[in-house]
């Protein structure tokens, strides 16, 4: 059976549900959002990822109607939403603090938005029950928000924001207040609910693992700009800048000057050392300054010199044992330290290398990504 991959952003006939066109937001002298153009498609789970203060929350609050752009337009299903107040938008938001109404029960919290629409009682009750079932909260419907746990509160907030069946759901750091284990479970729940309801989700997070787990596409932001927008695997495997490579996951960055022949590039990176070999689809001018980014798990570590395109000798400086994997910090004669990661498939007593061992580290010519910025 042929599987159709969900990738509306590659389909030129597809119209985005939300479209930011040259949107800028200034607070006094401070530019929070700097000329952003972006399309988000229906049924996407779109993540805005970046360090705090990068403008991701402001971008989301503009969708919710709590901020208006200083310049540019935001279209939702083809309609300019700038003049539409929050209470008239087919958009709902799940707040970082959950913002549950403390004086209302779980049931009344979920029914709140439905009652504002003036639906009849039976329809409201049916919808609330449906939401309680979806979020597995049936048993807690009569409790007040302060009588349930953090994870349950998170689900109430989700149920409340989904109850009105919005075209678009905004999630502001929805899992920030949960502990790690609960957070991981909830991520899968979120994806599940997103699939079941078919709602478009936009999530704001500073946690790159969370963004990678849940999102169909990730937008990496910094200082009010979009740095890269791509699927999680593209962001990880082919970052287009040092910033993205460094922000997502662990990475070794080697500065070098390039000498290209075809798709192969020979990199002069340290005096008295053989050049490194990498492949690229980009074009580099002779002696152009560039950066080679290699993920630690793509670097192998061995006692003997291996037959790989790139092999360097070094000394183990540090070992970070994480249980399932170990990260070796290997100091090269040039003084640079590279990280190599191996899966701990054998028991720790039988580990092949230890501190101060002389080892070889190696990677293929396609393992790294060559970056020009």
């Amino acid at each position: 059976m042929p599987q159709t991959v969900f990738a509306p952003w590659n389909d030129p006939d597809e119209k985005p549900l939300i479209s930011f066109q040259g949107v800028t937001k200034r607070f006094g002298d401070f530019t929070a959002i700097d000329d952003i153009t972006l399309g988000i498609y229906a049924r996407e789970f779109f993540a805005l990822l970046g360090p705090s203060g990068c403008g991701k929350t402001t971008l989301m609050r503009m969708l919710g109607g709590f901020e208006t752009p200083s310049a540019g337009t935001i279209l939702l299903a083809g309609q300019d939403i700038a003049p539409v107040p929050p209470n008239k938008r087919a958009v709902n938001m799940m707040f970082q603090s959950y913002a549950l109404f403390p004086h209302l029960s779980v049931w009344d919290n979920i029914a709140f938005g439905l009652r504002r629409e003036g639906r009849d009682k039976a329809a409201i009750a049916a919808r609330v029950e449906e939401m309680l079932k979806l979020t597995r909260l049936e048993k807690f419907s009569h409790r007040k928000p302060h009588q349930i746990s953090g994870g349950q509160r998170q689900r109430v907030a989700l149920a409340r924001s989904l109850a009105k069946a919005p075209k678009l759901l905004l999630l502001d750091e929805p899992l920030g207040a949960l502990d790690r284990k609960l957070r991981e479970e909830t991520q899968f729940e979120l994806m599940d609910i997103q699939e079941k309801t078919g709602t478009t989700f936009v999530i704001v997070t500073h946690d790159q693992e969370e963004a990678m787990t849940v999102a169909s596409r990730v937008a990496v932001m910094d200082e009010g700009r979009l740095i890269q927008v791509a699927t999680p695997d593209r962001i990880y495997e082919t970052p287009d800048s040092v910033y993205v490579a460094d922000f997502i996951g662990d990475v070794n960055i080697i500065e070098a000057s390039a000498r290209q022949s075809g798709d192969k590039v020979s990199l002069a990176w340290a005096e008295g050392q053989l050049p490194l070999i990498a492949t690229t689809t980009k074009t580099f001018a002779p002696d152009q300054h560039c950066w080679l980014a290699i993920r630690p798990e793509k670097i192998a570590i061995s006692a003997e010199r291996p037959k790989a395109a790139n092999a360097l000798q070094g000394r183990i400086l540090d070992i970070a044992y994480l249980g399932n994997i170990s990260t070796y910090h290997v100091a090269l004669p040039s003084g640079q330290v590279l990280k190599a990661q191996t899966a701990n498939t054998r028991r720790i007593e039988r580990r092949s290398f230890t501190w101060e061992d002389e080892v070889w580290i190696s990677w293929t010519d396609t393992a790294g990504v060559l970056l020009d910025k």
């Binding site: 938005g113 009588q147 349930i148």
Partner: protein
Amino acid sequence: MRRLSWFNVTSLTLGLAFLYLPMVVLVIYSFNASKLVTVWAGFSTRWYGELLHNEAFLDAAWVTLKVAVVSSTMATVLGTMAAYVLVRAGRFYGRTLFSGMIYAPLVMPEVITGLSLLLLFIGIGLDRGIFTIILAHTTFSMCYVSVVVSSRLVSFDRALEEAALDLGCTPFAAFRLVTLPIIAPAVIAGWLLAFTLSLDDLVIASFAAGPSATTLPIKIYSAVRLGVSPEINALSTIMIAIVTIGVITASLLTKRAAVRRNAEEHAADRA
């Protein structure tokens, strides 16, 4: 609980005695059987009975009650609105000036407030009576309400209002359905405070009152000038009781809300 040292016990006793001895004396003498205020002649509730037949006092009491209820209600509405604007509107031009002006009457000598109100009433040709007393009391108790309510609003999570807007409320509906129920204890405490302030105010009321309406404190004050009667002691005792109940209720409401908020935050931390 820590045990109190002798020094602490002594200072506490002296302080409390200084504050409450006069009132205790008054309350005791209100139960005196004798017509002579300073001569004890056994326990009696006779003066409380006589009070019920004193038309002038009952009239004044009725006026005082009406003034207190109406003015504290108006002060609560205005004070809550002012507090809401001050806390919510963020930095608008002249905010500091506005908040200063709201709180200035707290420290303004009452004589000056009363006098300026009197001049205003004469200036605009308003006949002095129960209506002017209500206006005057609203003016000076509004800032107390505003202080109580704004201290609650400062710790109010703004996201709650945004959530209400997000779920389809107009700004006014968000205030009515979400903000008001949550800050209600502070609003009620503010109302009780305004009520008791209005009940025992003499200075401002005497500027604003006219021949057509007199409040109880004014009545007592003028009666005392003709000599203290046990009846006045009884009346004062009743007023002390009402004010005490008002103040205690107000502080209990504020405290209970704070305790509950605390408990909720702890529950949130545990979760």
